[in-house]
Symmetry: C2
Subunit: 377 residues, 2 copies
């Protein structure tokens, strides 16, 4: 069974599918691609049993075959080739031969029966009425992940928080992530749907999608257990996290009447310097607010070192001292670094703080939330 | 005791000195810089007891002081600042205060007595007659290290091979490195001296020098135990390796009458692909030579995978099969990648092979040597 393919076309495709191949897995079979050749179409699948990714390429071939081929080796061979035609030959004895003008590369393949079931959409028994769908620009989906995915939890104790909440509301589609210490929340008002539901998409699907999204529209289909993202050339299917997402609204304070307005770069540069000193477990940095002045300080007791900066800002109200984990402040500012100015909305030293850009993008509402840490001074 | 310095001037200097600060050392004091302020000159030293690096900067200061300051912390603070003036204040109680327009940073410093003796040149008791000297362009010294340093040995069994041989001959200055498996040898005919000597410069001095060399002339002073490299702004002193360098000439074959001439890129690309298959301990790759044809092949027995490429070349003589460690061939070709064509000079499957560029740079003679590995087929 033979077919021909251009090395660069195949490289482009494999580059986008390889992120779905797990690198450390107790099931070595998952370190392979499934190649399916059917009626002149080569479809390549990768899965880690949670997500699956597939894409297709037209080829010239008279026969059909399904085979399991080593993902990393075939990817490394293909991308090391210059622009050339590769002839693939699967022989009866389990050998796959790749031939180019000057080279021959022999690999072993396995029969497709050894490859596990791939997450599929819609699964068996799903009725069409149980499927919701919407479309979103690739750039908007990427932007949502860029702004929010950093705050997903890594703690396996609360599985729902290890994903990104897609919440469909009357106002639009809201993306929410939190690890209990900080929260990121982006409302995209361009997405209007006739259903109000919550879906929790696992971290790995977000990470892989972020690598392959382009500007083009993405069509998304959802049921109770799975979601399918259809990109221009790719389909990514993932299981949803079955657990209910925590009621994040209950932690968003409404009465934060104190506003600190400051240039994003000024506070971000200062925080980066303070991180050199806030090296203890809590990575504590102190904000001391007084009229139009923000003083930021941190101390490394072990080394007898400390830092202290005084920044201009807009602030009115009673003086306030509040502590944060400097790494979390830095994370939030990293994800607001495109913004000229930001506002910190505060209430007291023990209440959650809201951080928003002064200018929101059209039809977007971005909000970050940060829990303070105790100042014991 | 106070002085002022521009942050960017100091950053530039610290960036070049920090590579001499050891990162893992049983003597934590070496993780510091020694600051010496004397008559309006700030001199900063770093050492790991084998090498020392120093540089100076004019400052405005009325007093003199020597103090030991934490290298990484001060470097990180200084490079995180925008272009500004820093006021340094050393107080009596061991605190060093750095002040900028908006920030204050406090560090602890130690008295200079706690800092170890720095390798110096010439050492005490060295007579002027025992010192040899020469000058070399920074770019030529960097090129010599670029072409040869990769082949230094990492095995502590033979200390001399863990350095680079500087051999002064009637023909010029020869740089030699070898780990017993391959050898790199560059003769620079521009350097003519009135002394014929051998000096072995340790790996760390080569690595640090490579980071700070610029185009300008380097003045080099040598005695039996130390060498001093004086760059435009820096002085690096290193102990020499006391052991005699092995007689590398005895391994360079003279009778290699078979010549394989090939485009560097062709063979290098093929070797990189073969490395995907030559993954066993010996990383063996086989060269099969016949008239104007080079076949390169490798096999991964565990995975049942193999690669085979046939390349055009210029070759006359009897057919020959010879094996190499593919990583070593790749190393050599990496360091010849600027060359359009290379020549492999061979004799038999068990004799060392010489690799040279077809066109040598003016007044330079570059030669690589590679030991074959046994083909047991």
């Amino acid at each position: 069974m033979e077919f021909k393919v251009n090395s660069k076309d195949l490289e482009k495709l494999l580059t986008k599918i390889i992120p779905a191949v797990p690198t450390r897995t107790p099931m070595p079979i998952l370190e392979n691609f499934l190649f399916e050749i059917k009626d002149g179409l080569l479809t390549i699948y990768a899965t880690d049993l949670e997500i699956s990714l597939k894409s297709s390429l037209n080829i010239v071939s008279d026969e059909n075959i399904k085979a399991v081929v080593p993902a990393k080796l075939i990817y490394d061979i293909v991308r090391s080739l210059t622009d050339t035609t590769i002839l693939f030959s699967f022989n009866e004895s389990g050998k796959l031969l790749l031939k180019t003008e000057t080279g021959k590369y022999t690999l072993s393949y396995l029969p497709s029966e050894e490859y596990p079931d791939i997450p599929s959409f819609p699964g068996e028994g799903t009725k069409a009425a149980d499927i919701n769908e919407f479309s979103i620009k690739g750039s908007e989906l990427r932007n949502a992940f860029d702004k929010t995915s950093f705050a997903m939890s890594k703690e396996e104790m609360r599985p729902a928080m290890m994903g990104t909440l897609f919440e469909f509301t009357d106002d639009g589609l809201r993306f929410v992530t939190t690890d209990g210490h900080r929260l990121a929340n982006l409302l995209n008002k361009n997405i209007k749907t006739d259903f109000n539901e919550q879906y929790v998409v696992p971290e790995r699907a977000i990470t892989v999608l972020s690598k392959i999204l382009d500007e083009k529209d993405v069509k998304v289909y959802l049921n109770k257990t799975h979601v399918s993202f259809i990109l221009s050339d790719f389909e990514l299917i993932t299981r949803l996290i079955g657990q209910k997402y925590p009621d994040y609204n209950s932690v968003i304070p409404l009465e934060n009447e104190l506003e600190l307005k400051i240039k994003t770069k000024d506070i971000h540069d200062a925080i980066k310097r303070m991180m050199l000193f806030s090296v203890s477990n809590t990575r504590k940095v102190k904000f001391s607010l007084s009229e139009n002045t923000l003083e930021i300080s941190a101390e490394d007791v072990d080394k007898g070192a400390s830092g202290d900066e005084v920044l201009n800002c807009e602030f009115k109200g009673n003086d306030l001292e509040i502590g944060f984990n400097s790494a979390y402040v830095n994370d939030i500012l990293n994800h607001l670094s495109g913004e000229n100015e930001v506002i910190f909305k505060l209430h007291s030293a023990t209440k959650a703080v809201i951080v928003i850009p002064v200018e929101q993008k059209e039809n977007m509402e971005l909000m970050m939330l940060l829990m303070p840490v105790r100042l014991n001074s």
